[in-house]
Amino acid sequence: MAREIGEVILDLRNISLRFGGVKALTDISFDVRDHEIRAIIGPNGAGKSSMLNVINGVYRPQEGEIIFHGEHRRDMDTHEASAAGIARTFQNIALFKGMSVLDNLMTGRNLKIKTNFLQQALWWGPAQREEIEHRKKVEEVIDFLEIEHIRKTPVGRLPYGLQKRVELGRALAAEPKMLLLDEPMAGMNVEEKQDMCRFVLDVNDQFGTTIVLIEHDMGVVMDISDRVVVLDYGKKIGDGTPDEVKNNPEVISAYLGTQH
């Protein structure tokens, strides 16, 4: 049973983003289809992270239009994005350092919590039932990512590779429809990378999650992604299947650093 890539669910049109006078993104258009793995690549400072930040509303572009599930909008809002099932990880791990792995993952489910703080203060009753129900879901994520042994460890004490995995776990705990991964394999050794690749593919495969990822390791990108968009200095210079992108002269020159 092969994975079926569906319709376009996210369409970014002519996005431009500036910080003061600095142009981070210039007139970028690209789309994401349901269930696909979409990679964003490009040299450092190409605007890849900014792109993700535009998708989930951390940054608001000055120009352009975002069409999400057929709905036209000027920009996204972080809260709307998370409510619409967009979860993400960050380039520099953004875990909650003072909390355990379990609690970090539980925060991923905050949008699904129905009890209010008064019920939670009383605990026994609805809040406890809800807590247990979400704990079960989170335990499944823990099982999926094979991090049982660190369940109750404060994340600050974990090595880098495991922190990355926990951060993915926090995103997965939200049962996202779309997952934005900002360099999920950066700084990992070969074995950790293999594990992470397997998890990304499994997430995509088992839960049908659409994945947009930024990655530097070309081998990984070419192996796992369905389509690749290439950015350079905030501009889009290539878009297509891994093979198409690999043979795109502009992409080659950007990567080899030759003059335009």
Binding site: M1, L102, R135, K136, E139, E140, I142, D143, F144, E148, H149, R151, D202, D205, Q206
Partner: protein
């Protein structure tokens, strides 16, 4: 034989199970650490689920007398499936889960497996790899569906699917399973366990319900096992010991079987569950002691001093107190204090607080090791048996512990020593036959109905059985002295720094040895001395390490010298091997016994060097890595001479 009020005798495992479901249906039968908590199955749940799975299996075409292959880690569903197979009059065939596909092939073919129940994707993949060579294998059922949802083979089924089908069938035919159970006879084969076989192809040992129930009853009554007991099941299900403890005794006595979360978490899970009944091979106890000593090395001076002081107290009187022997009041007081400060907490961190009975078997355990555990209040005992005897021949009775014996003959077991020293046994626990191997069956049971264990030993004047070695391994030095390599190897392995040892000497003029250092203990030792090393091979070649091991060997020599029988078999020369002996390289059996003959052939050049007096020898060996890749390990090994002693303990050479 126990009989239910309705007059039904409890002479098969399915009948025992149904009995527990009736009598203690709500009590926990099995637990498994999964998703962060100990998921629990009560006896009635287990009965219901195993019946459903049995019906599902029947639906797949599983017939009376069929063999069900079971491959995976210790999981409740896998244990349950044994009972499901037995309900239908079938025979579960648990297999070693860490075997590679090619190794599984033989058993699958030999046992004529139609249906295999496996744990997960990893095992499914292995079976798919060899399925073409097993035309009889018709169905594969898996427990954990993870990663398998794209497998489209029609012969693959999930556990849930089979159970669901079975439930429907049980609703439609409520009497089906009961009728099947009623058809079972106590002499039916209840399980087939393949002996790992130190030589030749594995043989399927057929054991009847009667044999295992008799063994279980004997053991349970001997140690007073109750339904409130807990056991942690983490040893391979294909091993007879696990079958005796986790299936036969558990189903007989009705206690709870606890399955760890994974192989990596056994120690954590041990601490959590705190079993009351525990089994581990000697190497586990050895590793645990090594860890204790290593961890205490890092403690502050005061705490370390306190620890050693009270360990000395324990050494002096701990085992005696456990055995109820007379001990002076002051020692009792000190021991009580030590119990508060050291032994109690130590048992706690080891997860052994609740242990009433702990057993070890599979290899000889060093007397000091045994004494250590007993002295801190853990009732560690030895037992002796083989796959062919349901792991049930000799048991150490409480309060009658001799560290160098494997106990007295178990209830119902008759022991005789043959003229050549071989131990012969007779009793209800004997195997029915070797599967499809009448020749081997005939060879192993003599005309009087005794099973020939292949071990050499003797009964002492108190009736305790003492094992010397494998009967065929007991050799002679060319000078005529008896040479029991295992005996010497075990002495060597008692040192925390030595993980494995292989001794040579049969038909030669002296004893020489290969040593494997213990990476954890020696590594730690090296680090504390600022000796840098890059890996096992590097560490093994360090002169300081050789010095360290040399001291250990010399101490063994001193011990050997003290006994008349062994004084001539002191170790003259040894070397530290450049790689760890590994079951994957066929150097050890799956139960981690050394294959001495194989090793002697493989490293003939090293043996040669030992006996020709060469100071060093170059060696290169191919190894298999965990991921299946192959590589080479090479080193220039230094061979060292060791001082030997005369009977007075004076240095002889």
């Amino acid at each position: 034989m126990a009989v239910t009020p309705s007059g039904e005798s409890l002479d098969t495992f399915p009948r025992l199970l149904m009995h527990h479901a009736r009598v203690r249906g709500a009590r926990p039968a099995m637990r498994e650490k999964d998703l962060g908590i100990w998921q629990t199955w009560s006896w009635s749940q287990v009965a219901e689920e195993t019946q459903a799975f049995a019906s599902g299996l029947a639906q797949l075409g599983f017939l009376r007398g069929d063999r069900l292959a079971i491959i995976g880690d210790n999981r409740p569903h896998l244990y349950g499936s044994m009972l499901s197979a037995q309900m239908l009059g079938g025979i579960p065939v648990p297999m070693y889960q860490d075997a590679v596909a090619a190794e599984m092939l033989f058993v699958l073919q030999d046992a004529g497996i139609h249906i295999a129940f496996v744990e997960d994707q990893e095992q499914v993949d292995k079976l798919l790899e060899i399925k073409d060579q097993c035309p009889e294998l018709l169905h594969i059922v898996y427990d954990d569906p993870r990663g398998l949802n794209h497998y489209t083979q029609p012969f693959l089924h999930s556990f849930d699917e089979i159970v669901a089908a079975g439930r429907i069938r049980n609703q439609n035919q409520p009497e089906f399973i009961a009728a099947e159970i009623a058809q079972g006879r106590t002499d039916d084969v209840s399980v087939m366990l393949y002996t790992s076989g130190t030589t030749g192809k594995p043989k399927g040992v057929c054991q009847s319900h009667h044999a295992f129930i008799a063994s279980a009853r004997g053991g349970a009554e001997f140690d007073g096992l109750r339904d409130t007991d807990d056991i942690l099941s983490y040893l391979p299900m294909a091993w007879v010991g696990d079958h005796l403890f986790s299936i036969a005794q558990a189903i007989y006595a009705g206690f709870t079987v606890n399955c760890p979360e994974s192989g990596d978490t056994v120690l954590t899970d041990l601490r959590e569950i705190g079993p009351t009944y525990y089994f581990a091979p000697p190497r586990v106890f050895e590793n645990m002691l090594t860890q204790v000593m290593i961890r205490m090395e890092d403690a502050g001076a005061i705490k370390r001093g306190m620890f050693h002081y009270f360990m000395d107290v324990a050494k002096r009187c701990g085992a005696e107190i456990l055995d109820g022997k007379p001990v002076s009041a002051s020692d009792r007081l000190l021991y009580a204090l030590g119990n508060l400060l050291v032994y109690g907490p130590l048992r706690n961190v080891l997860g052994m607080t609740r242990i009433r009975v702990a057993y070890t078997a599979g290899a000889a355990i060093g007397p000091d090791l045994c004494r250590f555990y007993r002295s801190i209040g853990i009732n560690l005992k030895q037992l002796y048996g083989q796959t062919e005897t349901c792991a049930y021949v000799g048991l150490q009775p409480d309060r009658e512990i001799k560290f160098d014996s494997v106990g007295k003959p178990a209830p119902g077991v008759e022991i005789k020593i043959a003229d050549n020293g071989e131990i012969l046994v007779k009793g209800p626990m004997l195997l029915t036959e070797y599967y499809k191997r009448p020749d081997a069956t005939a060879e192993s049971i003599n005309a009087d109905g005794y099973f020939m264990t292949g071990d050499a030993g003797f009964l002492d004047h108190d009736g305790h059985l003492k094992i010397i070695d494998r009967a065929k391994d007991v050799g002679k030095l060319s000078g005529g002295a008896m040479f029991a390599p295992n005996y010497i190897e075990n002495k060597l392995k008692f040192f925390q720094y030595i993980k494995e040892a292989v001794c040579f000497g049969h038909d030669r003029d002296m004893v020489c040895a290969f040593i494997n250092i213990d990476m954890g203990a020696v590594g730690n030792w090296a680090e504390r001395r600022n000796i840098a090393y890059s890996g096992y091979t590097d560490l093994a070649c360090k002169p300081a390490v050789l010095e360290l091991i040399g001291d250990c060997v010399a101490k063994v020599n001193a011990e050997l010298a003290a006994e008349e029988l062994t004084a001539d078999t002191q170790i003259h020369r040894f070397l530290v091997l450049h790689k760890e002996l590994d079951p994957d390289d066929d150097e050890l059996t799956r139960t981690r016994k050394v294959r001495r003959g194989f090793i002697a052939d493989k490293y003939a050049v090293l043996v040669e060097a030992l006996y020709t007096g060469k100071p060093t020898q170059f060696i290169e060996t191919e190894v298999k890595f965990e991921d299946g890749r192959r590589g080479k390990v090479a080193a220039d090994l230094v061979i060292r001479d060791v001082p030997t002693y005369d009977a007075q303990g004076k240095r002889a050479a």
